[in-house]
Symmetry: C4
Subunit: 210 residues, 4 copies
Amino acid sequence: MNQAEEANETARLETFSDGVIAIAITLLVLEIHVPDSAEVAEHGGLAQALVDLYPSYLAYVTSFVTILIMWINHHTIFRAIARNDHYLFVFNGLLLLGITFVPFPTTVLAANLEGADSDVASAFYAGTFAVTAVFYNLLWRYAATGNKLLRRDINPAFVSTINRRYLVGVPVYSLAAVVAFVNPDVSFGICAALAVLYLLPTKVEPVTRA
Amino acid sequence: MNQAEEANETARLETFSDGVIAIAITLLVLEIHVPDSAEVAEHGGLAQALVDLYPSYLAYVTSFVTILIMWINHHTIFRAIARNDHYLFVFNGLLLLGITFVPFPTTVLAANLEGADSDVASAFYAGTFAVTAVFYNLLWRYAATGNKLLRRDINPAFVSTINRRYLVGVPVYSLAAVVAFVNPDVSFGICAALAVLYLLPTKVEPVTRA
Amino acid sequence: MNQAEEANETARLETFSDGVIAIAITLLVLEIHVPDSAEVAEHGGLAQALVDLYPSYLAYVTSFVTILIMWINHHTIFRAIARNDHYLFVFNGLLLLGITFVPFPTTVLAANLEGADSDVASAFYAGTFAVTAVFYNLLWRYAATGNKLLRRDINPAFVSTINRRYLVGVPVYSLAAVVAFVNPDVSFGICAALAVLYLLPTKVEPVTRA
Amino acid sequence: MNQAEEANETARLETFSDGVIAIAITLLVLEIHVPDSAEVAEHGGLAQALVDLYPSYLAYVTSFVTILIMWINHHTIFRAIARNDHYLFVFNGLLLLGITFVPFPTTVLAANLEGADSDVASAFYAGTFAVTAVFYNLLWRYAATGNKLLRRDINPAFVSTINRRYLVGVPVYSLAAVVAFVNPDVSFGICAALAVLYLLPTKVEPVTRA
């Protein structure tokens, strides 16, 4: 296989992943339950019914931003990954499995953020992100260890920055999952804070500029 | 990063956005509620039941055309945007957050266009477009201020045309949201009229022809 | 705009359309209602309940094949269309509006193929395809009249073949919609037959081979 | 049509297929039913309600991995297929019909894995994969017989490896469908085992390296 074909291979992996992530992020809106007329009456009008959906909006925005960051990260590491092999497809598939699952814990959280089971719902939500972060690390480390699948002109500072950043996700989301049983709001707050934090840019480029 | 890589970067941002917008526009059809046999009987036959769904069709077509125009606009401004950076991803993400949310107010509007809460539903609908228009302006102005991310051969008349056109959306949709509390039909009419209006083409090209 | 940019413009239109059509075709499966335990009991077991869903399978396959053909046609005519302008986006958008609507009449048909309202359901189903065929003709004739947006080396035999093929859809689907009120099964049979018929290939290439 | 145009043709077929498969794989999550408050109470709390959804998780993961493998296979055979014709579109469409149907038997299986109808549900699930495997063979053999649509420099060992691998799917999934009536768990176990088995890589490249 020549270089052009290699580039094309990675391209189709990225396109497919983009498609899956784009769908997962858009399906999130389906979790926001449209109140029927009985529910509107119960809330004393549509305005109040829409306001009382705020747990759904919070969960929606947090999951949206988190998946968006996962996509930006995917985009970033595939600027560094130049080759692919069968197991890259498998690890990438595991990551997509994690990402497509997100709408489910999001809906569970939105339905329970206010109730007696908010601890379990928050732990389930944070736990899903912890597992997805594990899958991210598997994908990246498989590709990056010994520069196995990275471009030959890769900037080592880029690799070590990504390595460092990716160390944060697993323990912090795991911590959030445990904290949920003490204080569910703090648990959810950690997930939301991580989403904001990850919006900050990486300073290092995959290739040093001439 | 060289020019070819830059082009590729913007390409993936556009492809992902295209995917998200394509899904949001297609999910709209799920808001049209298929009448079950009890509802058909209540309306005195399927024909009448389908006719009585007209608020759903109106909301469907208006939201479809509005999202379509958002896509055409996205396409237009990315003919002018040649470079990207981290914050372009963030502002683009905000815009996508607004667009993917549209199916929700659309369903709320369709369910309430005829009822006592049509004012709130219309205001919520127009308000969503007002917020999305704000996100559009953030994206465009971030890219265009000082030609920060625009192509070097950009036609200044194109930039000022887009600047002018984008000024309209926020105040008019905001006005429609306020008007909803006076007359919900006029509010929805403004949204529908804007959709038709925006179907008119921009006359100015991003690059002047030789 | 140079040739390369023009190609890129059409490319993004095609990619977006592909995305929308891909989603519409995949959403069809959501119309097949999974029987719950009460329904299973009513049908005397899951096997019978699944068999009794045959109207859903028929509607699913017919709509799937029809949308697939619409995609193949879209693909075919865009091998001939080399340039684009604002109204091409608008007409293409109208066509997409028709295609994304298909899951709704499909579900209505599946729910009513067996009941007293099968005439209305079949007419609604065939009528949707008639309207979509009108949109297809608008798109094609806008692009093809005077070779306005076609490639310069276009094979005139290709244009006239497409012109002839596209004349069939509107009257036949309209006929099927009318026939529904006489015999709904014949109406649905016409739609299914057209799907099979259109699977036959066009013999003429857009460009004559050297 | 020259070589570049041919490549472009296959590209759009692949992109559309990628889109459809990406959506089918992502829709799977919608089959996981979010327990409402009555169901949570019935299960004695949210934690138990989430644990009791394990048939949904099993069906979700198995279908996800199976569709992922279908995509990887699609990707693999289209590295060998260089040309396309109308019937390749038709056979590819049949395959997509099979793949987009998967969410339905997945939901049926998840709802019945534990009940009296688990035999029918498992047979339906395995049977769907058997039919999809038939469609895969039709697509591949249409393209590969006499190297009809394969690249000219194709490695014959690649063709015979794919031929051999694809022989396995149809009989094994058919066997699993029959076994379901003896032991539903074994039937589902065969489907899950095949998913894992197919994750092992093909050793042979479509083109021999120089």
